[in-house]
């Protein structure tokens, strides 16, 4: 069998109810896994963009591509990972800050990750960090030593570099 590779698909779809279920159903029905999924409206309100990260050998990836294209509500499928691209995730962390000494340290660590504090309470604060998967995982590892109370993560969004699409 070929080597398994991670792929990021950008899937432009009609902005209608039920479309996400069709896309997700295509994966579940074939036993393919979705590693991360992000859905949002685009600047054109009639179009939504699904950014979907999956993995598989070349044959599976080709099947995923073909089957996504086969869905009637899918306007365009792009395998972003085949070219140079940028990718980002957004991470929100609520961290326990019950001791003042720790609070200062946490703010410093957040600085290292170019995080922003977006909410603060006497015993906790919420930090927002963006980056690629590796950076976010490093941040989670470090902050976990202080006690993560809550975590929310968007899943990946991505875009090809330059003019090429």
């Amino acid at each position: 069998m070929d080597k398994e590779e991670r792929h990021i698909f950008s899937v432009m779809v009609e902005n209608r109810f039920g479309v996400l279920a069709r896309v997700a159903g295509l994966f579940s029905g074939r036993g393919f896994n979705i590693d991360s999924l992000n859905v949002a409206e685009t600047h054109d309100k009639s179009v939504s963009q699904i950014t979907l990260v999956t993995h598989g050998d070349a044959q599976i990836i080709d099947q995923i591509y073909q089957h996504l294209n086969r869905l009637i509500d899918v306007i365009e499928v792009t395998d972003i990972s085949t070219g140079t691209h940028v990718e980002r995730e957004l991470l929100l962390l609520k961290i326990c800050t019950d001791d003042a000494q720790k609070r200062a340290e946490i703010l410093q660590v957040a600085e290292v990750f170019r995080g922003r504090v977006i909410d603060t309470k006497p015993a906790s604060l919420v930090v927002e960090i963006t980056g690629d998967q590796g950076k976010l995982e490093a941040a989670i590892e470090i902050f976990n030593t202080y006690g993560i109370l809550e975590l929310a993560r968007t899943g990946k969004i991505a875009m090809p570099r330059g003019n090429a699409k």
């Binding site: 779809v13 009609e14 109810f17 039920g18 279920a21 069709r22 159903g25 029905g29 044959q59 080709d62 099947q63 073909q66 089957h67 294209n69 086969r70 009637i72 509500d73 899918v74 306007i75």
Partner: protein, 558 residues
């Protein structure tokens, strides 16, 4: 003009050229049934079970090439359609299934007879719509017919909330459909077609392998031209039978599990396989590692996701078989492959489909030969099982849409209702339904509408008192442990037919086969059921056991 959603639906169906709509009435679809009441242009065919209605719409579509339409109520009505929708989906049959849905305000509340039919059918349809407002009806119907009948054809579901059926809105019908997200590629890439022509020219042992896609694309003429022009031997799959005349010397009969030894050996020996509207199904290829090991593959298919799915392909050509073949035919010439042709003829002579008489039993293969002798021009609708394979083997189909069967899903119970649809679609043809004792009783209730409409169906039951194909596998692979296959407790089908109001005959001796078939020919005011009591433990051969290569075909039990 303001029309109710239900009336809009009916008017749109007429504009799509729908002649018949098969259905079973029920609460959430009543406004639609009411709108159909007494309509002289669009005839409502009441069936006895929604599954039967769906197969009837499917049979109509297979026989005519037009979109079949089925109508059912919400909840159980809709779930009863599921088998029929999946059957159509697997064989790419154009169908529109319309289901009533509970009132919009009750959707999601576990209302009486509520079911998320869109959710249930998502993986077994080409597309689906939930209509919550009557204004949407016209556009949805136009889109649904467009999607069902173009590209890789398939079933489309329209689920309409009851209030959307009732509410009135302005009737506007869109003559054209333009979907930005749906543009099937119908013309093949000319560079790819040229590559294919070059491979065909070079090949020493080429074969053509044509499937149901040729029938669906109405490309039978183009396929014949390709074959006649190149003189390359051809095998046509179970789904494609009739696309090329099986009576022609180049025809190798169908390939695969119960296909001809000739076709299977030809795959194994070929250096080029030209697949046209065929999908390298596991029942055709057997063990993929041993499938056509020396052959380059050209694959012509309307569905890009079908190419390379099972077998790596050297020259993929995405497009409609008719268009692609038309272009390819311009580039090909008679192939210089005499030794290969001779080899094929030798296999063909040496390994025909054959059977031996056992005692004084009625042999099922004999019945098939007799049916072929007396009904060679008929549309044959088979069910699923041993009788299906014998019919495919011993009936020599010469025309596309002459042979209808559930090849992909293998749905038992398909054939009787499908024969009803076929007969309505082709009133001038004789329709023969070849059924099994197991499959017949699965949808036997559809005999009622056939009788009511006086359809002259010839229903021939190959009755071996077993779920025969499963029994055959049990005999060969499960040590003759006949678990749940003994159907000796079935009723007398001839008497039962009479009780329904049809002509019922029972044939127990070989000498009675022909007279019964002749008698059936003369009955044209309703269905005739002949129950052929055949040899109980006859097996279908040749056979490529599951998981084996095509070269490992078993020709019979010694």
């Amino acid at each position: 003009m303001e029309l109710s959603g239900a009336q809009t639906l009916v008017d749109c169906l007429k504009r799509e050229g729908v002649e018949y709509i098969f259905g079973v009435n029920g609460g959430a679809a009543m406004p639609i049934f009411d709108a159909l009441y007494g309509d002289s242009e669009l005839e409502l065919i009441p069936m006895r079970h929604e599954q039967g209605a769906s197969h009837a719409a499917d049979g109509y579509a297979r026989a005519t090439g037009k979109v079949g339409v089925v109508l059912a109520t919400s909840g159980p009505g809709a779930t009863n359609l599921v088998t029929g929708i999946a059957t159509a989906y697997m064989d790419s049959i154009p169908m529109v299934a319309i289901t009533g849905q509970v009132m919009t305000q009750f959707i999601g509340s576990d209302a009486f007879q509520e079911c998320d039919v869109i959710g249930v059918t998502r993986p077994i349809c080409k597309h689906s719509y939930l209509i919550k407002h009557s204004e949407e009806v016209a556009d949805v119907v136009a889109e649904a017919f467009h999607i069902a009948s173009t590209g890789k054809q398939g079933p489309v579901i329209i689920d309409i909330a009851k209030d959307a059926q009732i509410h009135k809105s302005l009737f506007q019908y869109s003559e054209t459909v333009d979907l930005r997200s749906y543009k099937p590629q119908v013309d093949g890439d000319s560079t790819q077609i040229a590559k294919a022509a070059a491979l065909i020219k070079e090949a020493k042992c080429p074969i053509l392998y044509a499937g149901g896609g040729v029938v669906l694309a109405n490309a039978s003429e183009e396929l014949r031209e390709l074959t006649y022009k190149t003189q390359i031997p051809i095998t046509v799959t179970l789904m494609g039978l009739g696309a090329f005349p099986e009576t022609h010397p180049l025809a190798m009969e169908m390939p695969g599990m119960h296909g001809s030894c000739c076709a299977n050996y030809a795959f194994t020996g070929a250096d080029l396989v030209v697949a046209i509207g065929a999908r390298f199904d596991d029942r055709v290829t057997g063990d993929l590692d041993k499938f056509a090991p020396n052959a380059k593959k050209i694959h012509i298919d309307i569905d890009p996701s079908c190419i390379g799915k099972n077998v790596p392909v050297d020259v993929p050509i995405v497009g409609d078989a008719k268009n692609v073949l038309r272009e390819l035919n311009k580039l090909v010439d008679t192939a210089d492959i005499d030794p290969w042709r001779n080899q094929i003829q030798e296999w063909k002579q040496k390994y025909p489909f054959e059977w031996t008489q056992k005692g004084n039993k009625v042999m099922p293969q004999y019945v098939m030969e007799q049916i072929y002798d007396h009904y060679s021009d008929a549309i044959v609708v088979a069910d699923v099982g041993q009788h299906q394979m014998w019919a495919a083997q011993y009936f020599k189909f010469t025309e596309p849409r002459q042979w209808l069967n559930s090849g992909g899903l293998g749905t038992m119970g398909f054939s009787l209702p499908a024969a009803i649809g076929a007969q309505l679609g082709c009133p001038d043809k004789t329709v023969v339904n070849i059924n099994g004792d197991g499959s017949y009783i699965m949808t036997i209730q559809e005999l009622v509408p056939a009788i009511t409409m006086k359809l002259p169906l010839k229903i021939f039951i190959i009755n071996n008192m077993y779920l025969g194909m499963v029994r055959q596998w049990q005999e060969l692979f499960f040590d003759k442990r006949y678990s749940a296959v003994d159907y000796h407790d079935n009723p007398d089908f001839a008497l039962l037919a009479q009780a329904f109001g049809a002509t019922g005959l029972r044939v127990e001796h070989p000498e009675d086969v022909e007279p019964a078939l002749l008698k059936a020919k003369g009955i044209d005011d309703g269905p005739v059921v002949i129950d052929f009591i055949v040899a109980e433990e006859e097996n279908v051969f040749p056979m490529v056991p599951a998981g084996k290569g095509l070269g490992d075909v078993i020709r019979g039990l010694s």
